[in-house]
């Protein structure tokens, strides 16, 4: 177990560096000279040279990357080109918002995926509906779903507000009400993939002997489904959900945009539109590191519980 862990970590670290380096060199190579962006077209060659020297833009990419990583390790991601704010100060308030949204959505999605897909075992009639829900969850674009929600629940029925976020200081009730639609939208997004995983595991488990034994003992189908099969099938979903936390930013980007929520996703989109490198790089790195770490944890968790996987590695 220990050796396994060490091996995985030692594999992960160079991956992180490779990926962040690719990101860094890609951004700085393709997105134009930062000096020109800062000074404008009319800048004299002299002025550009000065800026290059001052910020080190004329040094080889590797050196610049090394500097950036060194600074990032201390939490200094530089200042945004657009707002002149420290990048850390921009990201810090946005992170909890995205985390909150995603946490709600993932928890709800796990619950929905397990419950909705456990029922057909007992009630065959529900099979069609639950399958349909799965397909819809996987395929429906979340911007479309979000807009549908807004149209029905906000515009027509006037039950809910159109934006997704007000600060806690405006009141818990208000805060939560604004979150309902974005959370539902994001839940649908995760629900689909969670369902697939759960159903696969469920099918395998339900063939096993102990199920037949339970049935022979006279236990009702619902009880078997929920009390026996579910708990055994749920593990892969949970590990996958953990993995999804690493996908945090990707899932939330569109939802935050539809509901005007000031989270990391929207920050990323804005920084890309604005060619704001420091912010883009910082968020990119957070995503890469986050994904890698969550992958590691999820794999380990799965390996812990399922020794077969570990051995085969």
């Amino acid at each position: 177990m220990g050796a396994h862990l060490i091996r995985r970590i030692s594999l992960m670290i160079p991956n992180v560096f490779i990926l962040t380096f690719l990101l860094f060199s890609g951004v700085t190579t393709f997105l134009g000279s930062p000096a020109a962006l800062m000074l404008g077209e009319e800048a004299s060659p002299e002025a550009i040279r000065q800026i290059n020297e001052k910020f080190g833009f004329d040094r080889p990419v590797l050196t610049q990357y090394a500097n950036w990583v060194a600074n990032a390790a201390t939490g200094d991601f530089g200042r945004s080109y657009s707002t002149q704010q420290s990048v850390g100060a921009m990201i810090l308030p946005a992170l909890p918002m995205t985390l909150e949204l995603s946490a709600w959505a993932i928890i709800l999605a796990v619950a929905a995926a397990t419950i909705i897909n456990s029922i057909p075992f007992a009630r065959k009639s529900v099979e069609g509906i639950s399958s349909l829900l799965c397909i819809i969850g996987i395929t429906i674009p979340n911007f479309f779903l979000g807009i549908c929600f807004i149209y029905i629940l906000s515009v027509r029925l006037r039950w809910l507000p159109t934006t997704g976020w007000v600060p806690w200081s405006s009141g818990i009730g208000s805060h939560l009400t604004h979150l309902i639609m974005p959370v539902l939208t994001l839940t649908a997004f995760y629900f689909g993939s969670f369902s697939l995983i759960y159903k696969a595991e469920y099918r395998a488990i339900s063939q096993q002997l102990f199920v037949k034994v339970a049935r022979a003992k006279g236990l009702g189908e619902i009880a078997i489904s929920f009390k026996h099969i579910l708990p055994n099938s749920i593990l892969p979903v949970i590990t996958y959900a953990g993995l999804s936390l690493g996908q945090l930013v990707g899932g939330a980007v569109v939802t935050e945009s539809v509901f005007s929520m000031p989270g990391i996703g929207r920050l990323l989109v804005n920084s890309i539109g604005a060619r704001d490198f420091p912010v883009m790089l910082a968020i990119g790195m957070i995503v890469i590191v986050g994904v890698m770490i969550m992958n590691l944890l999820a794999d380990l968790l799965y390996g812990l519980v399922n020794p077969v996987v570990r051995l085969a590695d």
């Binding site: 890609g26 807009i147 549908c148």
Partner: protein, 257 residues
């Protein structure tokens, strides 16, 4: 043929016809401004008109072109990259396999949308670039799948016999391994198209897709969103088009099991 497949094929046919025959099907020119902006659905304009007086139905029909180009393009690229990589890893095993699996694992966990966002920002949001990025992002999944299948097939008697008979690797791969994995690969192809259309529409919705005035479903949803309270069809129309197309390809891909 299952109901799933039938529905999927019908929908794909519908979308493909729109894409291929758009100039004949669309009642109006999709990019010329008109004089009756923001009209609701009527006999003349089945889905109404947009703020510049353009017929929404025509734009939705033409929109199929970009979506299909990007979707199929991405799936092709994913296959072109993923299949050889997977085959090599699965067939040759040993060190080649280890290296390739490492590379695959690095990329497979990365969130596709975020990557696509960043890369299209770098290279510009042309249909070709979108297809390239999305194809690249989907290729690890294809590679993994192919590798798994190749590993299985490799054990079969056919292949053992072929090797015993002295056939070279390339010949064996083409003659024996490939036909057996083709079904899985084509299923994955459909699923990749589905994913690519989903993601490129999301990108356009975020404002980072193809530039105006090209009719593009995600972009149309974005523009129509503003008028949701009075002309919901402006955004729900193209949005439904995306949903239907994504579902159609997914149904086909998932019905192959």
């Amino acid at each position: 043929m299952t109901a799933k497949r039938k529905i999927g094929l019908m929908l794909i046919a519908l979308v493909a016809i729109c894409g291929l025959f758009a100039p004949y099907l669309a009642p109006f020119n999709p990019v010329s401004s008109g004089i009756d902006p923001l009209e609701g659905a009527s006999a003349r304009h089945w889905l109404g008109t947009d703020p510049l007086g353009r017929d929404v139905l025509s734009r939705v029909i033409y929109g199929a072109r970009i979506s299909l180009m990007v979707g199929i393009g991405a799936a092709l690229i994913a296959a072109v990259i993923g299949v050889p990589v997977g085959l090599m890893a699965g067939y040759f095993r040993g060190r080649i396999d280890l290296v390739l699996v490492q590379i695959i694992d690095i990329f497979i966990a990365l969130p596709g949308l975020v990557l696509a966002l960043i890369v299209t920002a770098m290279l510009g949001a042309k249909a070709l670039n979108l297809a390239l990025v999305l194809g690249f992002v989907s290729s690890p999944t294809v590679a993994r799948l192919v590798r798994g299948q190749a590993l299985q097939v490799r054990q079969t008697a056919y292949v053992e016999a072929a090797r015993a008979a002295g056939g070279g690797p390339a010949w064996i791969m083409v003659r024996h391994v490939w036909p057996n994995i083709m079904r899985t690969v084509s299923a994955q192809f459909a699923i990749t198209v589905s994913y690519a259309i989903f993601t490129s529409a999301s990108l356009s919705f975020l404002g980072l897709g193809v530039p105006p005035p090209t009719p593009d479903w995600g972009g149309m949803v974005r523009e129509g969103f503003e008028y949701l309270s009075v002309l919901p069809l402006l955004s729900l129309g193209p949005g439904a088009a995306v949903a239907v197309t994504v579902m159609a390809f997914y149904l086909i891909g998932s019905s192959v099991e």
